[in-house]
Symmetry: C2
Subunit: 428 residues, 2 copies
């Protein structure tokens, strides 16, 4: 019997989609790492009846652990702790030590406010003051999780055990790590099976071809049925996630070998690395510049997502208009007139311009038609030309037709560019 | 009594966070528009027991309508229709007319495949062929929603009525609009209250100041209690969403007037427009260029998000390294040495360079410290300098200290830049 958990995400702004929930997916990952099976994520508004209904639902499904996020703030519609107390049939009691700790946090915030150090909007002083006592009310016998912001969390042992965490991800995440170390959570998840989880990432392979490979692998891999394999298309890549108990490792090793045999060209990672991490490593010691039309800066921004990118990212040009291609990248206006702005010769000239203008040794150019307008029978929406150039003289040029809407085409274009870049750098 | 609905999102890849759910928030918005209250969004994996548990939970909560997304594909783990049939106590029957329609779709796909027109990965032919019959099995008496992709949806009338939709947003969205027109859904939502929903968006106001204003508004607004007001911080802006029945319009009108009196400077929209839409309108007839350091293209990419941006977006320079600022934007190296790359004089010089190099009439420059490294006591992480310049000579320069991590600082910077741009353009 594996250990199962459920997550209750509270907050009207999350339920109505005005704020995207980041806690459910993050907690799902942490649970997987611990070998706990996640059964349900239930999202509801700030209504006590709905929160309690979600708790009852998960308890009825027999989960061992429930994690809630949100509703710990100081205002009247923050009701999660009181609701959990009612659900767990515990009184709300004032924790005077906790009240003192919150007062201390409050004093530090006051000092920062007075010195003008705190950023505007970071501290709502009147509200925090009024809330001091409210936030120190906890279910009798619960374990307190010290606040990272101003809201403490609690762990209430029972069947199921309930972990109550705040909504802001930067508070929830460290407090979850504390929660896992409490006796109550340890006891609740003691029965868990230990799992390994491995990732294989591929690019340029249709999902159906992979399904085919997996079908043919089944009779060739002893213990195939002990591997829980899920495949998923993600940002234009195919990701295979395999989960198994440690003694099924030989089966996974055999499967991995078969995948490498069949799809050597398409597999770019089998150790969990993302393409962004691989590119960051491959760019060490290099100087890269970008030249972007339809993506308009998305590729440069993606390269800069990685902390430390300034070691190798020199810069880029967003050449949205044709005259920007000519003026800033030195693309011959005649070339654009002859082949069109979305063409391989123009992509090559853009990359050459970026190499030269930024004194870079690596350059990537993207020019395409993201839509909804601008398509033609010869060059429909989704047509995108790429070029990677290295100062060593190597040049990789490709034209693809990407599916989807404007946003899809632009995002996928950055992924295609990353993979083209990887290929160019690995053969350099 | 208002009409309530619940959403069941199925899919192991969504539950485990590998794919972000876009259907829950989208459907939540559609339900709000229809005046239907959304009670819960429940996310579970591709396990029939968990799907049925979620359906039972929502039915037990007394919702009038359940909408499911996902699990309509051709493979063995796509089980939503069969599960819904079991839950609704209906037999699965073969709809021969539907089978013929799917065959027809299949034939068109075959033709496209043969002509090489279909993009790689768009069509998994073998699987579709095998699935023809499976996808034509529907709960007895259900209304079929014609497929937009290859998967049909169904509406099963009852208490509650269940609408079964596919997972891909571009299939789900048009099929939802069809579902709303079916007799079964019309009947289920006949009792709904009609609501209006209005948005006020502000920038530069702490949430606590707004809470204060709302507190003071309460005794001054007749019928205040009939306004359902939620406020939320979103991308550095504060959004006030007010929902009310039509006859409470005078109360909303009074509230809106009070908000305008108190926060004239901070309110930038009260008609639902986003800052991106306002900027797109304000830029009509202009030529804008960007110069970005820490945001590395995010601002240019955000301007280009809007279809038709090529009318006014000329381009931009990502000047990540100092020499890129000098070479591509003509920023004096001495200026950088004297004031540092993150300084108002450098931001002003970057904007001037962008104006000149792109022959633009509007330019925005951003230079800042996104972290985690690079901060100092005088210029800590989060320090960002902005400059907007117009060819008319106007210049707006600001330095802010933004909270959060690398991603937060970079994203918020684009929002600050958009608002600075709006201010500059509205006074030009």
């Amino acid at each position: 019997m594996s250990t199962r958990a459920g997550i209750v995400v509270t907050g009207t702004e999350v339920l109505t989609g005005r704020v995207a929930d980041r806690n459910g997916p993050w907690l799902a990952d942490r649970l997987l790492e611990l070998g706990i099976e996640l059964a349900h994520i239930s999202i509801c508004g700030d209504r006590p009846d709905d929160i309690e209904a979600a708790l009852r639902f998960l308890a009825g499904e027999g989960v061992d652990l429930i994690i809630t996020s949100g509703g710990l703030g100081p205002t009247a519609d923050d009701l999660t702790v009181a609701t959990v107390a009612h659900f767990c049939e515990r009184e709300l009691v004032l924790d005077t030590a906790l009240e003192a700790r919150i007062a201390e946090i409050l004093n530090r915030l006051m000092a920062r406010l007075r010195s003008g150090e705190a950023p505007v909007g970071a501290v709502d002083f009147d509200t925090v003051l009024a809330a001091n006592r409210k936030q120190a009310l906890i279910p009798a016998g619960a374990t307190v999780l010290d606040p990272v912001g101003t809201a403490p969390g609690v762990v209430v042992a029972g069947t199921p055990t309930v972990v109550v965490l705040p909504g802001p991800p930067r508070e929830l995440q460290p407090m979850w790590h504390k929660a896992v170390e409490t006796d109550a959570v340890r006891a609740a998840i003691a029965g868990r099976t230990s799992y390994r989880q491995r990732y294989v990432r591929m690019f340029g392979l249709p999902e159906s071809a992979l399904a085919d490979t997996l079908r043919r692998a089944e009779p060739q891999v002893d213990g195939f049925e002990r591997l829980e394999i899920t495949t998923c298309l993600r940002r234009g890549e195919v990701e295979i996630v395999t989960r198994y108990e440690p003694d099924a490792e030989p089966a996974y090793t055999r499967l991995l070998a078969l995948l490498h045999e069949q799809h050597a060209r398409e597999i770019f990672s089998d150790d969990g690395s993302t393409i962004d991490e691989l590119i960051a490593r491959a760019l060490a010691g290099r100087r890269i510049a970008t030249a972007e039309s339809c993506t308009a800066g998305l590729l440069a921004a993606r390269l800069a997502d990685v902390a430390g990118a300034s070691e190798y990212l020199v810069g880029g040009v967003v050449s949205y208009a044709n005259e920007a291609k000519t003026e800033l990248l030195g693309v011959d206006a005649g070339l654009i007139a002859e082949h069109g702005a979305v063409s391989e010769p123009v992509a090559e000239a853009m990359a050459a311009g970026a190499l030269q203008r930024f004194s870079a040794d690596t350059a990537v150019a993207i020019t395409g038609i993201a839509g909804p307008g601008g398509g033609s029978p010869e060059k429909p929406v989704g047509t995108v030309c790429f070029c990677v150039r290295l100062s060593s003289g190597e040049k990789l040029t490709r034209t693809t037709r990407l599916p989807g809407d404007r946003t899809d085409v632009r995002e996928r274009s950055t992924t295609v560019a990353m993979h083209l870049l990887r290929r160019a750098l690995s053969t350099d």
